[in-house]
């Protein structure tokens, strides 16, 4: 049985800090290289791992993650490689979710995908282009296996939609800090705080953790967000490090470990 992300958030909360959630796409720079990079995230302080399923039409991703996903697709990555990656990372005991656009799941078969994900030790899915009101098949498949359903809330979400979305989520809810796509940004957004406050108002009863992502790239930004959120989600900054060291994998992994440690320190300062 896979570890739920909720367990990792609860453990961080018990330590009086926010959890650090780290993202990398599977198959980048190749399948084995991707597994090695994800293990560095685990070893250097990520509490939850988010593995991206590379997709041909990623409308929520900025240039950095697009480039990594395209490299993975050009390298021939398949869904079975994503599950292999999940299996290798989940074996470390760190809760591992897959972030995927919806069509690959639908094409694979929702039940079959949920079943294979659970068999690989995956904790659940983050679905950036699937909202609960269009997700009855996924909700049924996840509920029957106790898988995490991580839906997104946005600064543009109404209070009604935040209530609906948090009620449908399990594990945590993903609050997008900015109006925009993935990608590192120099400063944190002033939209994140009010969104987290509105979301927390909706999760007061359930205690569902609120993770904040989009644009976080430094320890200071992580500390700032950790002061009011339950989790800090980092993706593009990790991908950027690997892209910047494309010619030297060892140096890339070392730099990845360094950034992870800085962010892990950040969530402890928040």
């Amino acid at each position: 049985m896979s570890a739920s992300t909720g367990t990792a958030f609860a453990a961080a909360r018990a330590e009086g800090r926010a959890a650090l959630v780290g993202y990398l796409p599977a198959g980048f720079p190749d399948v084995e290289g991707g597994i090695a990079a994800l293990r560095v995230l685990v070893d250097s302080g990520c509490d939850v791992i988010e593995i991206g399923l590379p997709y041909s039409d990623p409308v929520m991703d900025g240039p950095t993650i697009q480039a990594a996903a395209q490299q993975a697709l050009d390298g021939g990555v398949r869904i079975r490689d994503v599950f292999r990656t999940v299996e290798a990372v989940a074996a470390t005991g760190t809760p591992t979710v897959v972030m995927t656009y919806w069509n690959p799941v639908e094409r694979y078969g929702v039940e079959r995908f949920a079943s294979d994900l659970a068999s690989a030790g995956g904790a659940g899915l983050i679905t950036p282009d699937l909202t609960p009101d269009y997700a009855p098949e996924w909700i049924a498949a996840a509920d029957s296996r106790g898988l995490d359903k991580v839906f997104l809330v946005s600064p543009s979400s109404t209070d009604e939609r935040i209530a609906m979305t948090t009620a449908a989520s399990r594990g945590f809810v993903y609050a997008t800090a900015v109006m925009g796509v993935t990608g590192a940004r120099a400063t944190t957004s002033d939209l994140a705080g009010p969104l987290v406050a509105r979301t927390k108002a909706a999760t007061a009863q359930s205690g569902l953790p609120v993770g904040v992502g989009l644009g976080v790239s430094t320890g200071d930004q992580a500390a700032e967000i950790a002061a009011y959120a339950d989790g800090v989600i980092v993706g593009s900054a990790f991908v950027r490090v690997l892209l910047d060291h494309a010619g030297d994998r060892a140096a890339g992994l070392a730099a990845l470990g360094g950034l992870t440690a800085e962010l892990a320190d950040g969530v402890r300062r928040g």
Binding site: Q70, W102, D129, S156, M179, G180
Partner: protein, 410 residues
């Protein structure tokens, strides 16, 4: 059957037919409020006689509508029954697309937004959007695949002359689907002050229904013109289908006329067997692309497969969800037409009628002439086939010159 919807239209969640079957809204949460706001504003506008009158006025005085319904006599003699052409090629900017953009831009103005974005493949929707933006005084950014900006330099120049900013998109396959992705990325970040003028009857609810309603004048006019001019309804109507805006604009008026057969012709490219085509309904699998559940050209992992057609306007790996629904329930029949058949029809129409159609529209002509020959055989010369000539061929002359070897020194 979904109780909230009519037999052919979507329910308030955007589902055509059974809930969950085709359509819906598979979109980032960040855009949901904007889509709700757009749906509400569109419904209010359509219920406001002043808006409807302003739309009709701009279509008439600026776009040159209604377009004529023309009896193609020499073509009719050739196939043995009456062939009628709905002359959308005569519209301002050269295609049916002006209807959709004028409707959406008028709605943008009503909503108080000052900036519009659009995607374009060949550039026709981009030119129409830039035109509407100039007319209404809106800022306009058009996303266009980098491959297409190179292929369609003339349309890039037209958009820039009209005052639009054209952004070449290098990501993915650098074609229409990637231009849509990039427009959606812009919209996620700009939705509070920007409207997305979607170019076809696809995408998330309410776009498939809204684009249809702005284009349905094609069929409403054609049906009335046919009854007025010939005293009968056509036996068959036909249109080309890429995303499907001209086709759904034609079909809608005839859906309840059970005696009228409805045909959509998709881009068969180099032929189904070659894998190089854009026949989404004929060859695609059910899936989700750009916000709607529909038929999609995709591999077994759900990755979108690049489509191919000699016609850039039909070169799209998805299709509007209402077409998927009409195919599913059998109300409309969709068939592929190859590049070669379309180009033959383009030459034929040019030489028999003096009308050079867009290559997109030539697919409809090619397919419909086959239908006309069948009808002539069964029903005789009184049979009537009505074809939507959705656009004119000026933009395609580069392709046509190369295909037929018409240039100097060839």
């Amino acid at each position: 059957m979904n109780e909230d919807a009519s037999r052919f239209d979507a329910d308030d969640q955007g589902w055509f037919g059974e809930v969950g079957n085709f359509g819906g809204r598979f979109m980032p949460e960040a855009l949901i409020s904007a889509l709700d706001e757009l749906t509400l504003a569109w419904h209010e506008a359509m219920a406001d006689p002043a808006f409807v009158e302003e739309f009709e006025t701009v279509l008439r005085d600026y776009a040159g509508l209604p377009s004529p319904l023309y009896h193609a006599t020499r073509l009719s003699e050739r196939v043995g029954c009456r062939v009628l052409l709905k002359r959308e090629d005569l519209n301002h900017t050269g295609a049916h697309k002006i209807r959709n953009v004028l409707g959406q831009a008028l709605l943008t103005k009503r909503m108080g937004k000052k900036r519009v974005i659009a995607e374009t493949g060949a550039g026709q929707h981009g030119v129409a959007s830039a035109t509407a933006a100039a007319y209404f005084g809106l800022d306009c950014v058009v996303y266009m695949g980098a491959v297409d900006t190179r292929r369609q330099a003339l349309n890039v120049a037209r958009m820039r002359l009209l005052g639009a900013e054209v952004v070449p998109v290098e990501s993915g396959s650098a074609t229409l689907k990637d231009a849509i992705n990039e427009a959606l990325r812009d919209w996620v970040a700009s939705v509070d002050h920007t409207a997305y003028l979607f170019g076809t009857a696809a995408g998330p609810h309410p776009f498939p229904s809204m684009v249809r309603e702005f284009c349905r004048g094609i069929g409403d006019e054609a049906r009335a013109q046919c009854l007025d001019q010939y005293g009968v309804l056509p036996d068959a109507v036909a249109a080309c289908v890429g995303g499907g805006s001209n086709a759904i604009g034609l079909f809608t008026a005839f859906l309840d006329d059970a005696e009228v057969d409805i045909y959509g012709f998709e881009a068969g490219g180099e032929g189904f067997d070659t894998g190089r085509h854009a026949a989404t309904i004929f060859a695609g699998e059910r899936g989700v692309l750009h916000g709607a559940r529909t038929f999609v050209l995709q591999d077994e992992d759900g990755q979108t497969i690049e489509s191919h057609s000699i016609s850039a306007g039909l070169d799209y790996p998805g299709v509007g969800p209402q077409h998927a629904h009409l195919a599913h329930i059998g109300r409309a029949v969709y068939r592929p037409v190859t590049d070669a058949a379309a180009m033959d029809a383009l030459a034929l129409l040019s030489r028999t009628e003096g009308i050079i159609p867009a290559i997109e529209s030539a697919h409809a002509v090619a397919g419909a002439l086959g239908v006309a020959e069948e009808l002539a055989a069964t029903k005789g010369p009184e049979a009537t086939v009505l074809i939507n000539l959705s656009g004119r061929g000026d933009k395609d002359m580069g392709t046509v010159m190369e295909y037929f070897g018409l240039g100097d020194g060839q």
